[in-house]
Subunit: 613 residues, 2 copies
């Protein structure tokens, strides 16, 4: 460390060496632990190969490490501006948007027929992870547009596909998800935005939405809001919600020119992270002239949204891991470079100071981050594979089984990265010491970015209730997952791993299975409140088990490959085995206590009254 | 919740109802669990009474809830500016500084002889907690000045006391702690700032310091930097560090006029929180004309600093709890007001939505915050009492015993509020949902403020090493603490508390005692690395035990008072019992696993190599 303090403060800017994700680990997850190339046997992916996968990944990496990462700090420092009713985004976004569209990010997993690249999700999420790690806000425009277009692709009519979807996948227009209203955050059944059928077959839309990401900008000529609204006469609650596509500008009578569609921006929310992406209050129909087009059938809006929700939630999981990953790599680099102090017991105060990675407690913080980041990434790859098979396997039974696994694991894939990722990001800041507390260094920005992930697309609390109130009891789901666990155990037994890991893992599975059956019994006996009381703890223990599973799989491959490996690979595999050990020793044993809380239905917060706080 | 989204966004500004801390709880901690009035029996506090305590507390509360809290958001939004080499702070600080000085915050605990109020620390920390909860950055100027003046009071000569200290306690000048240098963050032995004796008996100081809070401002005419420096010929390392008082401006030859002392501000660090308080890079002697005055004996600087360090560390603990407290109260209020969703199993989608405090998982998040905030506050009151007795008890044996307890608990009192406080602040944000993610609401600001507390005055990692490497083995310390635990147990047995809490607590004490003896044996056998390997886990388990002790004490008082209480008090005591239950059920059992990690010396991060990350 140079002794000029100003030089020190500049080191935070030298982030160009940050790999965002470890390429070696991405290869390991896709091709050594996973079998991504095998997906090419599916008819949908027949035109792909390891080469086309890698080509896409290399392009995404390069775009991420170049344009996106370079713009991250400026975009964080200069958020969009709300000027004369319109949103102006950071100028760097223009080139980024063009390049993301050019790369084909918008339709990466979509069929050739709609202009997509028909790539497996397994591969696509890795490319997206690089882009997110580089610049979460910048990627947001693409993720939202892709999701919005996908809704039309899945449920819209030919006109909507031709007029809206095509332009969105091509990057000519962007899209949003317009769900939330001020009085209806997590409670979508309470939305009040209205859509009234007009003579021309379109709908007149009135209402206001809040937290609409990328709801306006100056990147493209139009924005399509995939809007939840009530048609006239709709039943109350979630059964009366329809999906309406509401463009900011609509085609004029000539069918070519775009004219104003009475969609206005009422305000911008000052988010604490994802600053490149505006979050807006949007009003529809202030002048009574806002037109929307129904997507699919009336009153099916929430069901359509939920069919896309798994996808969106997995994307949140990728956000979480990507954001933890870039901070982890920054912390590793800092810990190797920053010299501070001497080993315990060193007696010579004039001996050179050591890099802080030499201190065991710093390595503890780094290894914990590694265990979270790489364990979480492994789970996401696993879940993406289930998604690919659920959608594209030729055999109905295979599709069904994979859909069950996907459904069961989605709350974990969404929440684990959000919750543990936040902890991981806080550790990356802590490794940087006082420098980490300044905005000259990046860890604080990633910590801010990360915090959204436990809130959007369903809070962690809601995912806990979803898992324990519904998904874990879905027909055949738990059994299918247990079979996956067994396969991992069988493979682990073929290599030299500590037997105690396998025993511990088997015991944890059995314990959690017993607990789950017992809670189901409680639920059936009318004790629903008891059943879900510790849903947060259940989500935690279930997630901890799933990540142990992923560390067992990674450790198995690492142990098998270690003997024949060269030096770099040996280092890589040893690191994997250390992180697996950390998870089995430090995290997995925590579940016993959590199981007890669920089993006993500890009732402190259940009986706590509002007036007692 | 109003349905106009702009109205919704304004609710964040309605924070005037936030009590900062619960007055009821402050009274409970001081006078029901604690016996603050008994301190008046000590000669030092003979002129005080419950009335003078309450008068001071009321004044501090009023200042905190008025001027300080009103300025919090503006000061967070408009940090100090660095203009033409000088720092300009927020204009609101001028009145705040005057009022804090007027209130006597600067010398609250100091003797009448130096212009202080000679209040017990037990009472002073409560007053300070209100001020910190209202505006951590604003209070910072006072805390630093007080600490700096106290160093001169304790170790300086008559001239320094008359010229510097007197003006500092009076609020005419401010003070700083100038320890850190770029190449010597946590490793103070590596500082290089020099002080060379001049013919006039003062020293010529050269060097640069970083992270100097309140190192410059436009509030008062002068700033005194309590600076660690090396005298010529000083031994290397920590044994060659002296304490030098270096004012920004010195008296000219006339002894009255202030002239420039060659202390310059080289830069401002953009901290992510505590934004009202500038953090600076300070250069001494760029023109070779910076004079400093030695405080105490040569080469004793670090020892002087460490004598003040307990005080500073407890203040960090109070920062942590205060910052968690204000956010907790904001979250409780929000959860009672914000309507969202319906109880599980509710079938009518048109029934009114319920306040989110009706959802068990929201109460879980609130109760966890309560357990952390009030458990931490109780520990701080306890530790402050030890401090009062260590300093002012007439009997040497009593002083010694209390000093031991204070020394042993200081790492816990500093780190628990920082670590769990951060978690608590994150939960307060989470309770606010999407609104919590915006800077229109305050929880995100408090989360940023809190993060510093795990870094400054020794990182959490360093406190773990300090506790397990030294303090827990100090002569008689653990035994004294065990006696305190026993007294709490004896008292708890006299009321109707669940027997299982007491059994659990006793078992935890025994387990930790056994572990500690075993680790001491390892250390004596030359296995120092093994001994301290899990110092972070040891700090965690030790803290968890100490907070259980504080919850047992609080529950005992609550259970005793419950029967005869009126409605408000019943609610209060029931809340205490619920929070105690939460801690015993949810937190205390975690220690078994942590004890095993320490005992077995789990070695994943110990053997992890830098190249394996």
């Amino acid at each position: 460390m140079a002794s000029d303090p100003r030089a020190c403060m500049m080191r935070g800017a030298m982030a160009d060496q940050n790999p965002l994700l470890s390429d070696r680990d991405v290869d390991f997850q896709l091709y050594e632990v996973g079998d991504a190339r095998e997906l090419c046997r599916l008819p949908a992916f027949a035109e792909h190969s390891g080469e086309t996968f890698d080509l896409f990944l290399r392009s995404a990496r390069s775009l991420a490490r170049g344009l996106l990462f370079a713009a991250y700090r400026p975009m964080d420092a200069e958020p969009p501006r709300f000027v004369d009713g319109r949103i102006e985004v950071h100028p760097a976004m223009r080139a980024i948007w063009a390049q993301m569209a050019e790369l084909g990010v918008l339709g990466a997993t979509r069929p050739y027929a709609v202009g997509g690249q028909q790539l497996p999700r397994t591969v696509a999420i890795m490319a997206e992870a690089y882009l997110m790690a580089a610049n979460l806000g910048a990627y947001g425009y693409a993720g939202l547009t892709s999701g919005a277009a996908h809704l039309i692709e899945a449920f819209g009519d030919a006109w909507l596909k031709d007029q809206f979807m095509r332009r969105m996948y091509a990057g000519e227009w962007t899209g949003t998800m317009a769900l939330t209203e001020p009085q209806a955050g997590s409670s979508l059944g309470d939305i009040t935005t209205r859509a009234t059928l007009a003579e021309d077959g379109s709908y007149r839309v009135t209402g206001h939405k809040i937290f609409i990401s990328a709801g306006d900008h100056d990147l493209t000529e139009n924005v399509v809001h995939m809007t939840l609204a009530r048609l006239d006469g709709a039943p109350p609650g979630v059964k009366g919600i329809s999906l309406v596509a509401v463009p900011r500008r609509r085609f004029a009578a000539d069918g070519v020119t775009l004219e104003d569609n009475d969609v206005s921006t009422a305000g911008m929310i000052h988010k604490i992270g994802w600053k490149g992406l505006p979050s807006l209050v949007i009003n529809f129909g202030e002048r009574g002239d806002c037109r929307g087009w129904l997507v699919g059938e009336p009153h099916q809006g929430l069901s359509y949204m939920f069919q896309m929700m798994n996808e969106a939630r997995i994307m949140v999981g990728v956000n979480g891991i990507a954001t933890a990953s870039v901070a982890y790599h920054e912390a590793v680099r800092y810990a190797r470079e920053r010299r501070q102090g001497r080993p315990p017991g060193a007696r010579n105060p004039q001996a050179p100071q050591v890099p802080i990675v030499a201190h065991a407690d710093v390595r503890r913080m780094l290894l914990r981050q590694k265990a979270i980041v790489e364990g979480g990434l492994a789970l996401l790859v696993q879940v993406a594979r289930y998604s690919d098979l659920a959608e594209h396997a030729p055999e109905p039974a295979v599709r069904q089984r994979n859909q069950r696994l996907l459904d069961l694991l989605t709350p974990v894939a969404k929440s684990f990265p959000a919750e543990r990722g936040f902890e991981s990001n806080a550790l990356a800041l802590q490794v940087h010491g006082g420098y980490g507390y300044s905005s000259e260094y990046l860890p604080e920005a990633w910590l801010r970015d990360q915090k959204l992930n436990s809130i959007h697309e369903g809070t962690t609390g809601i995912h806990g209730l979803d898992l324990l109130g519904r998904r874990v009891f879905a027909d055949g789901a738990f059994v299918a997952l247990a079979d996956e666990f067994k396969a991992a155990i069988a493979d682990a037994r073929t290599v030299a791993l500590p037997v105690v890991w396998i025993e511990q893992f088997e015991l944890a599975i059995a314990t959690i299975a017993t607990l789950t059956v017992e809670l189901a019994r409680r639920g059936q006996a009318g004790e629903a409140e008891f059943m879900v009381r510790h849903s947060a703890d259940y989500l935690d223990l279930f997630s901890t088990l799933c990540i142990a599973w992923q560390w067992l799989r990674q450790a198995t491959v690492a142990a098998r490959a270690l003997q024949a490996a060269n030096t770099d690979d040996r280092n890589f595999y040893e690191g994997k085995l250390c992180a697996a050990q950390y998870w089995f020793a430090t995290e997995l044993p925590r579940i016993d206590h959590l199981v007890r809380l669920c089993q006993e239905g500890e009732d402190s917060y259940a009986r706590m009254q509002p007036d007692w706080f």
